[in-house]
């Protein structure tokens, strides 16, 4: 633990004892040409907690997730997983270390059934898929994992449907189900509620609450009701930088956050 950068100590002592930091960033920065999308962001996702990242459009939230998952390389700074630096690793290596992510724009296997989407996701947990002899369908543990993931995301009855024929909301649920099927310990969720109806939204919030106990969750979300009801820690980003970080109460009371949101034409409703 001595290797933790100094920035952490403050927040670590604040949190309840026993909650371990799983994924963290240290001054993470990403430039796109002259634009700085993410600027010196340091934050931590802890086991058993939901850490929500909010901010106006263009604040760099999705870029942050892409840096954490390895979809994008960082320009500067570090990403640490359980204290080990993973900056610069390709996305598939990071995924194999237990970091699962979902996408803001639905990113699924459209020609496959919902079940096969999840089965293929579960298959990623095999040490290697360089297996040529037995039919994939005879790996019963993978079939069960796929069924369980579908059920958790509320798609138990829709497994046989081709993904392209699912409704938009169901595709969003499938997105989450696939992420769960890989059995990650860290969940990076990029707007999981976007495009979901009220009912689906409510059950997804219930699912996330349930997942919180056994996962470290980093959540980017625009639905403020959901964010404030779920998050243990909130980080507010504006123009790529962290404006404020703290408990929901602290964020709600923050003058700087109110200013930023009012300035951006948005308000935090509770």
């Amino acid at each position: 633990m001595a290797a933790w950068p100094a920035v952490w100590h403050e927040t670590m002592t604040e949190s309840a004892p026993g909650t371990a930091v799983v994924l963290s960033t240290d001054c993470l920065t990403r430039h796109f040409g002259g634009l700085t999308a993410v600027y010196e962001v340091s934050l931590a996702a802890r086991m058993g907690e939901v850490h929500a990242v909010i901010g106006p459009n263009g604040a760099g939230k999705s870029t942050l997730i892409n840096l954490l998952s390895g979809d994008l390389p960082a320009s500067a700074g570090r990403v640490l997983l359980r204290g080990v630096e993973i900056t610069g690793l390709p996305a598939h290596r990071i995924a194999r270390l237990g970091v699962g992510r979902s996408y803001q724009k639905t990113n699924i296997f459209l020609p496959f059934s919902a079940f096969e989407n999840c089965r293929l996701a579960a298959q990623a947990r095999l040490p290697s898929s360089m297996r040529f002899l037995r039919p994939a369908s005879s790996y019963h543990a993978l079939n069960e994992a796929a069924e369980a993931a579908l059920a958790a995301a509320g798609l138990a009855a829709r497994g046989g449907v081709v993904a392209s024929a699912l409704s938009h909301g169901e595709q969003r649920q499938l997105e989450i189900a696939m992420t769960l099927a890989t059995r990650p310990s860290v969940l990076l969720l990029d707007e999981p509620l976007a495009g979901m109806g009220a009912e689906e939204s409510a059950s997804m919030v219930a699912l996330l609450r349930q997942l919180r106990d056994s996962h470290a969750i980093l959540l980017v979300e625009h639905d403020m009701d959901a964010v404030f009801s779920l998050a243990d820690t909130l980080t507010v980003m504006v123009n790529g930088a962290v404006l404020e970080s703290g408990t929901p109460e602290q964020i709600r009371a923050s003058a700087a956050v109110q200013m930023a949101y009012l300035g951006g034409g948005e308000a935090i409703h509770d």
């Binding site: 598939h92 996408y103 298959q123 898929s129």
Partner: protein, 325 residues
């Protein structure tokens, strides 16, 4: 689940039936037609191997003849002068040469996307073409004659004699069935699901934890080795290898067979190769401008049957099923 399994078994049953019928060809047909059917079987193996890349993984390889031709050259070059090669060593060796070449080329091209993949596979194949065309390694433009076919002797016993055209046919038939069943098994395996996933959405495969590079490379090697089986058989059947076996004309023709029959299935390329060869024979009989007729046929199929001939079978089956209901 049970429905797909049922279809799988009817597929195997259909294959067994077709193989049984094909087994009688040498008993009833003249030499010309036996050799013609053997050529169809060889091209069917070749087309199935390309479909692994084209239809299953979504890699448009435009230099697939390289792996076919190089296996033929491997046999020609390891056949000693005035002597016959040993089938049991030359066959695996030729396939190993194709696989090795596919590994080397694949290691470079599999990183590339779209149009660059097409261009660079073509470029590699053409480099190989000119290597054999312009130098004396493989007899230049004329190629190499294999006067003595490989001998398949085990001790004093000779299970088959490749100087006999019927035996060559039976070898092609046996290898065709073997390749079909082998690829069918591989495509149903976890590996097969991974390459299908790469075709559908490679980015998502990576974020799920699949290092797609190695899977694409493995598929490229498997496709190259399988093309090598066809190339070896072709060299045995025709008794000659020449640079055309590596050229882009052949790469293009086999791609047409796959597309004509239907990509992403195993029966599609087999059907495509069969129809292609039959049409070629027929059109050549009618006119020396048979390429024109072939071209017109391809244009028509592309317009009328976007899923290839196998798609026609699918829509017929659906129509029949609807009438039954």
């Amino acid at each position: 689940m049970s429905a797909t399994r049922g279809n799988g078994w009817t597929g195997v049953l259909a294959l067994a039936l077709i193989a049984l019928v094909l087994a009688f060809v040498p008993l009833v047909a003249e030499k010309f037609y036996v050799q013609f059917f053997a050529k169809i079987l060889i091209m069917a193996i070749f087309a199935m191997s390309l479909d692994l890349l084209l239809g299953y993984t979504g890699l448009v390889s435009f230099g697939h003849a390289a792996f076919y031709g190089v296996a033929g050259y491997a046999l020609a070059l390891i056949t000693p002068q005035y002597q016959a090669a040993n089938f049991w060593t030359s066959f695996p060796l030729a396939i190993a040469v194709s696989a090795l070449l596919a590994f080397a080329i694949g290691f470079v091209v599999v990183r590339m996307q779209g149009i660059y993949f097409i261009m660079v596979t073509l470029a590699f194949a053409q480099m190989l073409f000119f290597l054999f065309y312009d130098t004396k390694i493989g007899g230049g433009n004329d190629g190499i004659y294999i006067d003595l076919r490989p001998v398949a002797r085990i001790g004093d016993w000779q299970p088959f004699n490749l100087d006999n055209f019927a035996h060559v046919y039976y070898l092609a038939l046996a290898l065709f069935v073997l390749v079909f069943l082998l690829l069918r098994m591989v495509l149903a395996s976890p590996f097969g699901r991974v390459i299908a996933g790469i075709k559908a959405n490679e980015h998502r495969m990576q974020s799920l934890g699949y290092g797609t590079f190695w899977y694409k490379l493995a598929c490229f090697v498997l496709a190259g080795a399988t093309a090598g089986v066809a190339g070896y058989l072709a060299a045995v059947q025709f008794g000659v290898v020449n640079p055309e076996m590596l050229g882009w004309h052949l790469s293009g023709a086999v791609m047409m067979m796959v597309i004509l029959g239907g990509m992403g299935t195993l029966t599609g390329p087999v059907l495509g190769a069969t129809v292609w060869m039959l049409l070629e024979l027929w059109f050549q009989d009618i006119t020396k401008h048979w390429h024109l007729l072939m071209g017109a046929f391809i244009v028509l199929t592309a317009i009328l049957l976007p899923n290839g001939l196998i798609g026609l079978y699918g829509s017929l089956a659906r129509r029949l099923a609807r009438n039954h209901d």
